[in-house]
Symmetry: C2
Subunit: 259 residues, 2 copies
């Protein structure tokens, strides 16, 4: 692994968006076409077009940091590596793992040609389907406590409620993690109005796409799973009921004048 | 304007991303190609490819709600209208204006075929260029007080600091609005550590693209203008210094274990 090899390899972190092929940026498609190696969670790698001579390194979901290190080693050997992520790789996805690996890895990794290509994240696809719930100040919170204490999630939920932000919840639940979304709703009911709009956006951009618009009083935690993005309105978020079709949800551009 | 006409028209809200053509989604490109009418702020409409027979309605920046109403009227007349926005239309952009217009407009507008197509927002492009500063919980705040009282911005800044969110500031300054970013930095200095990373990302995806990585202690408000996205780190956000090239900035996936 000479310095020359190190200089000639590259690593790109790309996102496939939330599921719809038309949401993958041309930049991401080009990077996937040009890469000598694809590295990622196996279902994401399988979604990429097959290219002759390209090496595909699919892996399990729970080894993000190992996957990042393997990708850096390939780039160091002179390969042109695309690390494949869902959504936007910069939002609760692989980009942070790559930079963690660089930060804690060998010094030569800092000099590798590394760049991130942005993508459509789940909250944006969910918002688009609903109307414009993220039309004003909002925050994005992962409800997973795999990598952070639940007390920090609670602190952020309370702060987000006090700041009257719209909230987008990533990782609201998984097969083995069912309590967090229940606890989050219970906490928010102490800090926000019962009529606050709550939206469940499931599998957006896929065949089983489903939207549910309800209120904080009625929100059923069991509706959230791994493929669900949950959005909680601010005090200004409004629901437009329609004669036909799903309601629209939006947060006005002006704020602070509601009762 | 019969019910039949109303049923046959459509309105799509699309985003051109932050400036790079490769960041425009295939869905947005298709919608722009299929539209009979383009409606938007004139510089955005000018960025769209010319199509024979397509009518282009460019307008000034300060008439978003009028523009939304004009687009709805065209759709009601049976036209297929694309409302063109920068970035992601759902994030501090045209989508909210369209739904405000529907909410306060004539009842028939609720039945128009309206949909939003998501796009790459400025904070995602800025984050990609920096590394992964939005890799964990974050919020997006518009510093403009044109449409909300400054007291609400202050409340949200304090809440975001108390929640230790990474923050992305949209509209940090304009030619006539120079004080807000100065006031925001002054307020955050009372609530966050002086060494907190602060990033200015200017004109990302354009020829004059520029990144500045500094700290809250040293952040110079004068660096922000209309084309700048400002990112404030959380207590966990880290800067990776490199021998060659700009530093990387990232927020780890794990949190709550820092001093």
């Amino acid at each position: 692994m000479s310095a020359a090899n190190s200089a000639s390899g590259s690593l790109r972190v790309v996102g496939l968006g939330p599921g719809l092929a038309e949401w993958i940026t041309p930049e991401a498609s080009r990077i996937l076409a040009e890469a000598t190696d694809l590295v990622g969670y196996a279902p994401y790698v399988e979604r990429c077009p097959q290219r002759a001579g390209q090496v595909r390194h699919g892996s399990d979901n729970r080894v993000e940091i190992d996957r990042a290190r393997a990708a850096l080693r390939l780039a160091q050997e002179g390969r042109h590596v695309a690390v494949v992520s869902g959504g936007d790789p910069g939002v609760f996805a692989m980009a942070a793992a790559v930079f963690e690996a660089i930060d804690h890895g060998e010094p030569a990794w800092r000099e590798i040609d590394v760049a991130v290509s942005p993508g459509i994240s789940a909250m944006q696809a969910a918002a688009a389907r609903l109307g414009a719930p993220l039309g004003h100040d909002f925050c994005a919170i992962s409800l997973s406590d795999n990598l952070k204490p639940w007390a920090l999630v609670e602190k952020r939920l309370i702060a987000a409620a006090q700041g009257d932000f719209v909230m987008a919840f990533y990782n609201p639940a998984s097969k083995t993690r069912r309590d967090q979304i229940r606890a989050a709703f219970a906490l928010l009911r102490q800090h926000k109005a019962e009529r606050t709009p709550v939206m469940f956006a499931k599998s957006i951009g896929r065949a089983d796409e489903r939207i549910i618009v309800t209120t904080l009083a009625d929100a059923e935690p069991g509706l959230a799973d791994m493929a669900t993005l949950v959005i909680i309105g601010s005090s200004e978020t409004k629901v437009i009921v329609r004669g036909a079709g799903e309601p629209f949800v939006y947060t006005p551009r002006s704020a602070g004048r509601a009762p």
